[in-house]
Symmetry: C2
Subunit: 250 residues, 2 copies
C-alpha cells in the first residue's frame, strides 16, 4: 500500500495522469505505518458504500468518490468530493436520508477502525495528525464549495468546478489541461445545485466561447487555465486547495 496516487480514470488505464501524490503541499505523507492497520477495499464505479459502523474510517488511496444524500423531495444531492489522500469517517457526514459514499471511478480504499488509534502507541500521534490535517483540509474545501454555490452565478460556478477537476485529475500540457470527467452531467448538476438541462446549456456556452472543448462525452479540455482563472473569482483559493505540488508540462 503506497502513497495515494492521482487521477485513476474511470474505465481504461490508457490515460495516464501525472503520478504526483494527491495531497496539498505541506501535508505530511500518509505514513506507511497505516499498513497492518487497514483493510484494503476495491470498489467499482457506481458502487455504493453505506456507513455500517461509526467506528469505521475510510482512507481514499485512489479514485474519486462522492458523499451523497437525499435532502428535500427525494432529490439526490452530492455533498462532497473525496480525493486520494482524504480520510473520511461517518462522523463527518450528517444523518440525512440515503447518506453514503458513491464511487465515481473504480477506487481503492483502506478501511480502518477509529478505535485502533486511541491507544497511545508510537505511530498514533503521526497518524492522528495526518487525519486531523485531512479533516481540516476537507472542511476548507467544504467552505469553498459553499462560497461557490452561494456567491457565484451558475456559469462561473461550473467554471470553478472544472478548474478544480482539471487541477485534481487533469493532464497538463502548456496552459492546456485535458481531463476525464468521472461525473456524468447529472452528477455535476447534483453537485453544483443546478438542473441537468441548465448545466448542459452552460457547457455548450463554455464550448462556444472557447473556454473548454470536449472529446466524446466525458473527456474535457480546458483550453487555457489562465483564462479560466480570470473568469473565476475563487481561483486563488481553488488553486491553493486543489493544485498538485507542481503542475509540470508533459
Amino acid at each position: 500500500m503506497a502513497l495515494p496516487q492521482a487521477g485513476m480514470t474511470a474505465s481504461a488505464p490508457s490515460v495516464q495522469t501525472n503520478a504526483l501524490p494527491m495531497h496539498r503541499a505541506g501535508r505530511p505523507a500518509l505514513p506507511e505505518l497505516l499498513e497492518g492497520h487497514g483493510i484494503a477495499m476495491k470498489v467499482r464505479r457506481r458502487q455504493r458504500i453505506t456507513f455500517a459502523s461509526s467506528d469505521q474510517i475510510y482512507v481514499v488511496q485512489s479514485g474519486l468518490l462522492v458523499l451523497s444524500a437525499n435532502a428535500g423531495s427525494d432529490r439526490r444531492q452530492l455533498l462532497c468530493l473525496l480525493y486520494p489522500g482524504d480520510v473520511f469517517s461517518p462522523a463527518q457526514a450528517p444523518p440525512l436520508d440515503g447518506i453514503g459514499m458513491i464511487a465515481m471511478t473504480d477506487c481503492e480504499l483502506s478501511r480502518l477502525r477509529a478505535s485502533a488509534f486511541e491507544q497511545d502507541q508510537e505511530a498514533t500521534l503521526l497518524i492522528n495528525r495526518y487525519i486531523a490535517e485531512s479533516t481540516s483540509s476537507m472542511h476548507a474545501r467544504a467552505m469553498l464549495h459553499i462560497a461557490r454555490l452561494s456567491s457565484l452565478p451558475s456559469e462561473t460556478r461550473v467554471a470553478a468546478f472544472l478548474l478544480e477537476l482539471a487541477l485534481r485529475l487533469g493532464r497538463v500540457s502548456n496552459d492546456q489541461v485535458s481531463c476525464d470527467l468521472p461525473l456524468s452531467r447529472s452528477d455535476i448538476a447534483d453537485y453544483l445545485s443546478l438542473n441537468a438541462d441548465t448545466l448542459s446549456r452552460i457547457m455548450t456556452r463554455l464550448k462556444e466561447r472557447g473556454t473548454i472543448a470536449t472529446i466524446g462525452r466525458s473527456r474535457t479540455i480546458v483550453k487555457s487555465v489562465k483564462k479560466l482563472c480570470q473568469d473565476v473569482p475563487v481561483c486563488a483559493a481553488t488553486m491553493a486547495l486543489h493544485a498538485q505540488q507542481q503542475l509540470e508540462a508533459s
Copy 2:
C-alpha cells in the same frame, strides 16, 4: 475556564438560556486539561478576528461567531457558524479574500498553539480526540448546510435555519421556543444565500402563517417545533447535530 456554556445572548444577561453544555451528545467534554494551555480572549459583538498565524487554534467557550469571506463581486458570504465547544483553526478555512471570523455576540474564546499538542504528553491524546470530534462534527454541519442551500426552496431553508438556531440558542417552554437572533436580517441572508429583501418577505410569510412570531427586531418565537419540523425535510439531521442533550421544559 469551565465547560462551554450555551446561549450567551447578545447584549443583556437578562435572558438566561438553558445552561447545558453545547455539544453533541456523546462527545466527551472539553477537558479542563486545556487550562494552562490557552490564552483567554474576549471579543465584542461585531468584532473581527483575522487569522494571523496558522499555528493558532481557537476554542469557542461562549457566544456565537461566523466564518466570513468575500467571494465573487465583493459580496460578503457567511460560510459557517461557530458555536460554543467548537474548535477552529485557520486550516479549516479556505484562503478566500477577506476571510476571517466575526463575532455575532460578545464571545469568550481560548487561543491555543497547535504545536502545543504535538508532543506526546499524557493529556495530548484526549485533547486531540476532542479536537478531532469537533472538526468532524463541523464537517457534518457543513454538509448539512450544503444540503439546505442546494435542495431546499428559500422558505424551507429559512425554516431549517430557524430550527437550528432555536435548538442551539433557544429557551424552551412546552413545544414553543423563543430565542434571540444574534444575526441581523442581512447576516442571515448572507448565510442562507438569499437577498435581504427576499428574506424579509419570507419572514413575513412565516409570521402570517403562524409558524413564528417576533418581538422587537431580534427576538423570535417558534410557535411549534413539531410543526416546524414537519415543514423541514432535514429536520432529523438538524436535531441530531444541533439539539442539546435534553430539551427540558422550563
